[in-house]
Symmetry: C2
């Protein structure tokens, strides 16, 4: 099939190529191939959907098809993690030009399967259609499994703010790619595929977290959402942030000199940030970043509102 | 806001405009606004996803934003109906050019709300992003509510084939629109928004249906899927089809003269077709179309394989 476009293959053959890589999971009563898939969950269903558009969220010149498949699954599943739920399955809609190479679709399907395996979710359905640009929509189905949904609204003054995962890596990667560079490899890779802390969401819930959010738009922007939902302020401690060497190098070269800006405003790494009633409640592997305060819903850094664009990524 | 584009409004304001019309439902534990929505279902979850792309599935010149919103919800929910499930909620991803008029988005949101009310589903989440063309992906979440999933695979020789809903109306509408006409209004309207027989799926399940499918690609194509899944043949009785006057008129004018072709090959009306063990089991309001036979998985008309394109709508 080398060099062939998907237009030569046909829709049903293409669907077979994608779904043949589908991981199955215990929750799946009925997988791909009927009008709908059927899942058996132990508790309430958590559901979230996430879309990636070519030349908006990714560029084919910067990300392989495998990267795009992995990232689409990861970004969506992270939202279910942020509820304290156990992700069980995804459905994926893929719209793409009929001139797309079959290799691209194969790579995408491999990427989906690879990330689905990491996230322990099954691919149980989808849709395939033509469009002028590639548009990928993933919907995650997750099982609250007896856990109350961990919303953004439960943070209380006095709580500890802690995170697990990574901050600012994808943004540093995008900064170097935008300027025509391909290194440091660690940050470029982070832009291509996030490292979602799978399984950490339910650990936070079981540890007694009071609120949680996934950092997709940037720490300040997403904590702003949490502050508004909980009617609290948050004060971050700048000394708590661990700045890795590659971020430092990128900041020195292209980021205005301060690598903390990537960590405060960069999205797409899908760290989880949660609030806990005490320091002792913070699970192993999480980093304490600050405190919840009473008052207006603002995010402070060392007690002061940072002069940065805190709106996060908006599309319009 | 008259004449404004969505680029002037901003993403979060736009999300508010869409979700303010959201219908709530009993299953919804947590609706729009957090990382995920949470639903409480009584039984297994049925999930299906469906994408509509501008200039592939609809044209803005032929369909209003309201039509597109209604059709996107209807087409997706029909898949859950076809499992015998009770549709409970939808999540919707909307990608659209930043130059899109706010009126279009308002009309779309009204259409979504209108169809969601008809289908008794809540809008519980979504995603909003930019793209060169409008791409709408709807995912339906439905409750099997104790009913086993009614798959395509249970039909047995001797079963009765029956349908509820409409066949060939949308195809007749598309035929006239494609030729530059706007009437008969009944078929043009049917192309714009299908009339899904909401609630009929679970009635068929309770009546003892052995297999069911929603007709999205065309009767012959979709019954072909059912025949292959069940390893049976189906013989349709041409005298069983009710040809309405507008279809007759369109067939005479543009369709080659035989309105049955629209009914056999036209998709997008989302009728439900099911197989029942006896004539007595067929619920009121359903029309008997034929019989299940043993043998190779083919769909016959009056005992003969019809010489029509039975592949249905394929995208590549």
């Amino acid at each position: 099939m080398t060099g062939s476009s998907i237009g030569e293959l046909g829709e049903f053959a293409l669907i077979d190529r994608i779904t043949s890589r589908a991981v199955r999971a215990d929750a799946v009563q009925l997988g791909v191939g009927d009008d709908a898939a059927v899942l058996r969950l132990a508790g309430d269903l958590a559901v979230s959907t996430d879309t990636m558009v070519e030349d908006v969220h990714f560029r084919r010149a910067w990300s392989s098809a495998h990267d795009v498949g992995r990232k689409a699954v990861a970004a969506c599943v992270a939202d279910a993690e942020a509820m304290g739920a156990v992700p069980k399955a995804v459905v994926i809609s893929l719209a793409l030009p009929s001139t797309t190479d079959i290799e691209w679709v194969d790579g995408f399907a491999d990427g989906v399967a690879s990330e689905a395996e990491r996230a322990c979710v099954a691919l149980v359905g989808g849709d395939l259609t033509t469009a002028a640009v590639i548009v990928v929509t993933v919907t995650v189905l997750a099982d609250q499994d007896g856990r109350a949904p961990l919303t953004r609204a439960g943070a209380r003054a006095g709580d500890v703010v802690a995170m697990v995962g990574r901050l600012g890596w994808a943004a540093a990667g995008l900064a170097v790619l935008t300027r025509g560079f391909r290194s440091p490899a660690a940050v470029v890779t982070a832009h291509r595929v996030p490292e979602v802390p799978y399984g950490a969401g339910r650990i936070a819930a079981d540890a007694g977290a009071t609120a949680m959010i996934d950092i997709s738009d940037g720490l300040l922007a997403d904590l702003g959402h949490l502050c508004r939902a909980s009617a609290v302020a948050i004060d971050l401690d700048s000394s708590a942030f661990q700045i890795a060497e590659p971020q430092q190098a990128v900041a020195a070269a292209v980021g205005g000199g301060d690598p903390l800006v990537f960590q405060l405003t960069g999205g797409d790494d899908h760290a989880l940030v949660a609030t806990f009633p005490t320091l002792d409640a913070v699970p192993a592997g999480w980093t304490v970043l600050g405190r919840v305060l009473p008052g207006e819903p603002v995010v402070l850094l060392d007690g002061v509102e940072p002069e940065l664009d805190t709106q996060g990524w908006t599309h319009f």
